[in-house]
Subunit: 257 residues, 4 copies
């Protein structure tokens, strides 16, 4: 097996430095470039990078990805900020370089992606569903973006299946007790010293409940997903939006459009 | 060992019929009377009841307990509605019958009582604490009375220990996401088909969390507490408020006053 | 919408009597026959049953299913004991009655079926996996059949994906501490008064864990699965083995062969 | 408030370096000495240390503690290996220096200590109890020492209360399924990549269960316990064995003898 030649863009950031370590530790990869702010993108070409891992910021990601696509370097992108307009621009670049692949993943955590997938699949079989997310108390937003996204996917699946509104006989409540309402799905946010990032999806029907829980202990938990993206992207020309398309073959659409 | 002669007042109600079954099944007790609405209290005396289990309603409990105390029958009372005024009246009756004991227990569930006790004891050692209660969706109030009481006990213990406010950096939140605020303790109420009555108390500090969870599957879970009350009340003259005083010897005060 | 005419075979057993109640309560079904031991199968034909729910025992199920298939009555079967030989015999009957459908479901609990499906799907993405099942202490076998089956499905998925053996540095252990070994997957069985039937599948990889938990509180939890089978079987001629084929369209194979 | 002058012995070890950080970060303490292997103990005296935190190894702890006691420096000791003989020797030193205090704590985790205390207190109220401990897969022993100790405390409390053997109708079991038997309490050990150190104690009785769970995410979780020991040891002359004696006033005995 020949190794994959990988460059990391944003190599000194929190995620990027983890990616540098993970690529170095992977038997089937070779780290050929580690670019920080100010470093020249041309280094990727000179180093013979086949795949670039892009972990920078919304104001630099477009330039970085454009360079990669124009030079036939596949890209695995964790940076956020992808509007419809930006995606359209990216597709234009890819049309001109049809053998190049770009994976954009809002979440590289395999556990988080599986949680969302399973939650969406289970949604139509249960009368009740609620989401509890639990994080360290330094987090600024409540609920977490992942919990909101999970609730939206569940609500969508219920709508498609024609599931009615959830049963709830509450007539007397303290304000906030029943959580935030995200498309009809109650979402509760716990903030506790000692926690990192956790999420529980609880489904219930007559006589049974099903719980899917994801516990993320540290940033290292994203790296198996990044490496999986690096391994698969050369065989997936065009745009792939969401790591789930690389996890399951039955996820046909590899394009967000 | 001689058996304890027990009468049940409110024997046809939901709790009362469970109590009838539990007393019958107990090796060390004999059911000597089972009174429904309209039955005469004198039956208790004629049947030689030593202990009465009172499980009726706030509008009848005072008459029932007065009868018991005046006739020297110990009482184990699950009916609620005990105001300071009512308690004072009851103490007057007990003063006139100093060898008679009355146990009033807002909650006969041993697991629930232990949860509250442990939560109160743990409260001062942790920076963060939140309560999640989970019930079937036919419940009318949110949060549950037990969860509110648990949060109040925790808040009290934190105040006594001089613990500061909980850390919470939330700046952007959907309404309700962070739960109800009970004396500074966030309380979240989940309503899910398939559940019965459940409560989790989560404590957190640097690098560790402690969780106390109580699951109550059916009304039968209250009966071990009722039976324990019946077994102990003859040795506890006067008023005892709360089953916890019969569970632990280091709970000195046996009077709510 | 016309209602489905349903007969229950084994109507007085524990599962069967639940099925009778569930069919009666379903808006889109009509209970036209409820057969106990000794009742004549011809009643199903006379009553015009379209679907029969078979919940008897291994020694009677073959006769019952043969009667149904020969008379063009679709069958939803919960009785166990299906050897390869029995399945071959059943396929022969179905070949002669090609528009009739038979669903054999070892487990009608939708939550249990989803748990197994999700466990199988997640298996190849995690380095570690263990199963904990928890039941009431009157259960005779340990681990439960569902837990063994779940572990086997996980082991199979790991083999297919080429996942290596699980990491485990244990050198000193008390006998039994690490659970039972089911195809390389540790399975732990807890027996606790107050529990009913519960199962947890724990997956772990660097920095994250994923837990899938199923809680079954009573036999009623199987009825949504039975009703779903009744609703779908007329459109599924031939043999379907496992409720999962009716839950997800991407489960192509509808035959156990 | 004057600050407490603290020296750390074993300052470069894994626990010791955490202690150095924790003491430095505490408002009410001053780090006056940080000794590694080969450093002279006299430094503690010269630096005016009031309390020494001893986190070394069984082969050096006796010399270190002897030096502290002879010089009137209170000691907070996390090093293990305390046989009855060693404890007797230590008591001899303390008899000769009656105002000096030594705390030996097998476990400085407040959550772990609370878990054991609550488990012991709850033990006599429930028919069933089992322990599940969950750790990373690099751990060499199974079950963990903490789980074995917890089970022993529970068994002791059940014996004292005259509780009978646990109900368990298992007749057919795979080897190991029912866990290890520690004094009649089943203990299950899970080893999973992504976990750190976790323990669950499950109690069950008719219709209800009580679960106490402790999650320890990193070594930092021991530091609140170390600091609590440092703050309290000057007021506790003689030998205190176990952090629990500093957590609760009703834990009377402060001597392991």
């Amino acid at each position: 097996m020949s190794t994959i030649r990988v460059g990391v863009i944003g190599a000194h950031g929190r995620m990027g430095s983890e990616a540098v370590k993970a690529v170095k530790a992977a038997d089937d990869m070779e780290l050929v470039a580690a670019l920080g702010r100010g470093d020249k993108l041309e280094t990727l070409v000179e180093a013979g990078a086949e795949v670039a891992v892009e972990l920078t910021r919304p104001d630099s990601v477009m330039d970085n990805v454009e360079f990669c696509v124009r030079n036939g370097i596949h890209a695995v992108v964790g940076t956020t900020g992808w509007t419809d307009g930006r995606l359209a621009t990216l597709r234009g670049w890819l049309d001109a370089s049809p053998s190049t692949g770009v994976l954009i993943a809002p979440n590289f955590g395999i556990g988080a992606v599986l949680t969302m997938r399973f939650a969406r699949q289970a949604a139509r079989f249960f009368e009740s569903v609620e989401v509890i997310e639990l994080h360290h108390p330094d987090k600024a937003d409540a609920p977490s973006g992942t919990a909101v996204r999970t609730a939206q996917l569940i609500a969508e699946a219920r709508r498609e299946a024609g599931t009615g509104p959830q049963p709830d006989a509450t007539t007397t409540a303290l304000e906030g007790a029943r959580g935030a309402d995200v498309d009809g799905v109650p979402v509760h946010a716990v903030r506790l010293r000692g926690l990192v990032a956790h999420q529980e999806v609880l489904f219930g029907d007559a006589g049974e409940t099903l719980t899917i829980r994801h516990d993320s202990m540290n940033r290292g938990s994203f790296m198996p997903g990044v490496l999986l993206g690096v391994r698969r992207i050369a065989q997936a020309p065009g745009l792939t939006f969401g790591l789930e398309h690389f996890l399951f073959e039955d996820e046909h659409g590899t394009d967000a459009g």
